[in-house]
């Protein structure tokens, strides 16, 4: 069973759902962008998110920081010509998929190549090398994203419901708000 969703819904829901699992607003924003990008371009983004939740407390937030560690490694690669980053435990591609795309667009080559992976495939180590051709296009200009924006993104209904349920935890009960608010909205 599937459901068609808009890319922004993936971003909104993953952000909200991640907040209750140890991600602050900044990390949740970053993770949501990675997962949505992965769902559009590789598939398996939502499945990877659910897998991290299943992996236990703190795993999601740790994984969310991986894209920041990757950015720090990119700094080394572009300064020194090369860098290696290890992920222990290995992490699903979904949490760094967008960052890898951005990094390659800035002329950093990445090995092994991840283009053929899906979001749940694990990445244990990446070798980064400076010197590739830089490109400037944004994610919204590519065909897959355009298709998703135009016609929606087909995702697994059970996974979607799971993320939606988790996202509900971000909301605050109206009854509680009414009790503490000075002025009604």
């Amino acid at each position: 069973m599937t459901v068609t969703v808009a890319p922004r819904e993936v971003v909104d829901l993953v952000h909200r759902a991640s907040r209750g699992h140890g991600c602050n607003a900044d990390l949740a924003d970053r993770l949501a962008a990675e997962i949505a990008f992965c769902e559009v371009h590789h598939g398996g983004g939502l499945a990877a998110w659910a897998g991290l939740i299943d992996a236990g407390s703190g795993r999601l937030a740790d994984a969310a920081r991986s894209s920041l560690r990757l950015a720090a490694a990119e700094v080394v690669a572009r300064s020194a010509g090369a860098a290696t980053i290890d992920f222990d435990p290995p992490l699903p591609l979904a949490v760094i998929a967008r960052s890898l795309r951005d990094l390659e667009r800035r002329g950093v080559r990445c090995a092994p190549a991840t283009g053929g992976l899906t979001g749940t495939d694990l990445v244990a180590r990446l070798d980064l090398a400076d010197g590739g051709p830089a490109t400037a296009t944004t994610s919204r200009s590519d065909d897959r994203m355009q298709a998703a924006l135009r016609g929606g993104l087909v995702v697994d209904r059970t996974l979607w419901q799971r993320v939606s349920d988790a996202a509900d935890g971000f909301l605050v009960s109206e009854a509680i708000l009414d009790a503490v608010l000075e002025t009604p909205s």
Binding site: A6, N24, A25, L68, A72, Q146, R150, G169, S185
Partner: protein, 570 residues
């Protein structure tokens, strides 16, 4: 494309090239100034109808199936070249106890959607189930906009009875009634499974920010007229009449607006910059114009129109803003000042400079009036300037020195916000219809629930972190150690958007949401701002606008601020 459009290839270029002619961001984005904004000729309701008239959009009611109480459905169809859009509305009646002033509610008397393409029976059946669910609905990319609203409790039945009796409304009974139906939301852009705005293909006639929402709103307003006339016919039979004369245009669509606008504004600096930037460019254009008799006469007509309109809007009790009587007085003063400066070489600039020294309501009314004279921007160019790409990619090699420099250049006003009470409120989202709310931080444990719209505070916190770091530290290294600064860094590196930041702290004890709300509503093209608390207000849009049958090449753009009709059967 006009010569001006070629010259102004991007908003950023335009604002940079003409910086010396423009009002400084510190003035434009000051909270009180934002809270005095008024609609202009570049507001979305105006640009929609100008384009619709110019390009021959054809709208019509194709189906109205309602009982005597106005319960049923209606379909309005708009053809734009070879594109077809249907506005579908389902109507019912609610017990008065279910009517609410709040933006959120469990049920609505009207639920509607704008659909890309003609709605067939199967889709109509789907929408009949889905639309009343509103935020709980799952829609699909055929749907562009989802909306809802209620009848005016005070006036709907009165209007039905008057028409049923064969009479027009009495002018003094509808003093401040600028609408028949009142909407509360126009969801779009991928919400609830609808089409993403960026998914509108090249050449799509609604591929301009908020154009789909405003086409939907214009149809919604039409529904109010048709529904009242339908109910009047059912009640009065052959005695019933339709709205005639100026009454046929006087009523707009009401709108109640809550805190959702505030979080949107703080999260979309490029959008805000575009809205304010277009307005400021237009103002600069007009200030530079010499005062020909034609221009002076046109401005006087607009001032007179403002005086006439606001003088009929009723009581003067709309704190924190001026009410209609005071606005009327300000408009008269503006007219008198125009007479005094009319012979100066640059009378419009002189009028503006005079207004700058007065209260913000006077100043922004003058801005709105002056922009009616703008000849420098055309609608194609404005549409282009309003399209912004909000994607920001941060280069991890950017250094702390660069961040410091950008903070110094663009955010020197942050220090003014760092008061002991600057963290009084936090913002959360209610489980009731996803409505943003603000709540005293001490009153609730909001861990993991807080909405990050406190950009001023976040940038200020980044400043403090940067104080202890070597200048050549890379952003990639900084964020790996301080992941909580991600959004602040992104904001800083997102480009130079001079009008992108409200100079305010949404978490401060004295923060007044109404100010930013009014700015946005003005940019949309709404007026008649009626605050109902510090956090929400009512407005009117499309009041005086052409009806769908009026639209044609001869349709003029001077429909805003209509005079209250005086005719009407006793």
């Amino acid at each position: 494309m006009s010569e001006a459009a070629v010259r102004l290839r991007s908003l950023g270029e335009a604002l940079a090239e003409r910086r010396s002619e423009l009002r400084p961001p510190g003035v434009v984005m000051a909270p009180q100034q934002l809270g005095a904004a008024r609609l202009t000729r570049y507001s979305f309701s105006r640009t929609l109808l100008r384009r619709a008239a110019r390009e021959g959009w054809r709208s019509r009611l194709v189906e109205l199936d309602m009982d005597a109480e106005g319960r049923g459905h209606a379909v309005y169809r708009t053809d734009i070249d070879d594109h077809r859009f249907d506005f579908v509305a389902f109507t019912t009646t609610l017990d008065e106890s279910l009517h609410t002033d709040r933006v959120i509610a469990p049920a609505w008397e009207v639920t509607g959607a704008l659909v890309d393409g003609a709605v067939d029976d199967a889709h109509l059946a789907e929408l009949r189930e889905a639309l009343p669910l509103q935020e709980a609905a799952r829609l699909d990319p055929r749907v562009l906009v989802l909306t809802r609203g209620n009848r005016s409790v005070r006036f709907y039945d009165y209007l039905v009875q008057r028409l049923a009796d064969g009479r027009q409304p009495e002018a003094d009974k509808v003093a401040d009634a600028g609408y028949i139906l009142r909407s509360t939301a126009f969801y779009g852009n991928g919400k609830f499974g609808m089409r993403s705005y960026l998914g509108y293909p090249e050449g799509h006639p609604l591929r301009v920010p908020y154009r789909a929402q405003f086409l939907c709103a214009w149809m919604f307003r039409e529904l109010g007229y048709d529904q009242v006339e339908h109910c009047a016919r059912a009640r009065g039979g052959d005695s019933a009449v339709r709205f005639d004369g100026a009454w046929g245009r006087y009523f707009g669509l009401g709108n109640a607006t809550g805190l959702g606008l505030v979080s949107y504004a703080f999260k979309h600096p490029r959008v805000l910059n575009a809205w304010a930037g277009v307005r400021e460019l237009a103002l600069a254009n007009v200030r530079a114009l010499p005062g020909t008799p034609e221009r002076l006469a046109l401005l006087r007509r607009w001032i007179d129109r403002a005086v006439t309109h606001f003088s009929t809007l009723g009581a003067d009790d709309r704190p924190p803003w001026l009410g209609p009587a005071s606005i009327t007085e300000r408009a008269r003063l503006i007219g008198a000042r125009l007479d005094e400066v009319a012979d100066e070489p640059a009378p419009f600039d002189a009028l503006f400079r005079w207004a700058e020294t007065h209260d913000v309501e006077t100043c922004e009314l003058v801005v709105s009036l002056l922009i009616e004279l703008d000849e420098g921007l055309d609608d194609d160019e404005v549409d282009q300037l309003l399209r912004v790409d909000e994607e920001v990619v941060v280069d991890p090699l950017t250094t702390v020195d660069v961040l410091r420099q950008l903070l110094d250049e663009r955010y020197d006003w942050l220090d003014d916000l760092d008061t002991p009470i600057g963290n009084h409120y936090c913002w959360v989202v209610s489980d009731n219809a996803d409505e943003p709310r603000r709540v005293e931080r001490d009153a609730l444990d909001v861990d993991h629930h807080e909405v990050a719209i406190d950009m001023a505070r976040r940038l200020h916190a980044l400043c403090r972190t940067l104080e202890g770091l070597p200048g050549d530290t890379a952003v990639g290294t900084l964020l790996a150690e301080h992941p909580g600064h991600g959004n602040a860094v992104k904001r800083l590196l997102g480009g130079d958007h001079p009008y992108g930041e409200p100079r305010d702290n949404a978490c401060a004890a004295g923060y007044l949401p109404l100010e930013l709300q009014r700015f946005q509503l003005a940019m949309y093209g709404m007026d008649n701002y009626s605050p109902k608390s510090t956090d929400w207000l009512r407005v009117t849009l499309f009041q005086g606008a052409p009806r769908i049958d009026d639209l044609g090449p001869a349709t003029t753009d001077d429909w805003v601020w209509p005079p209250r009709p005086t005719e009407g059967s006793p």
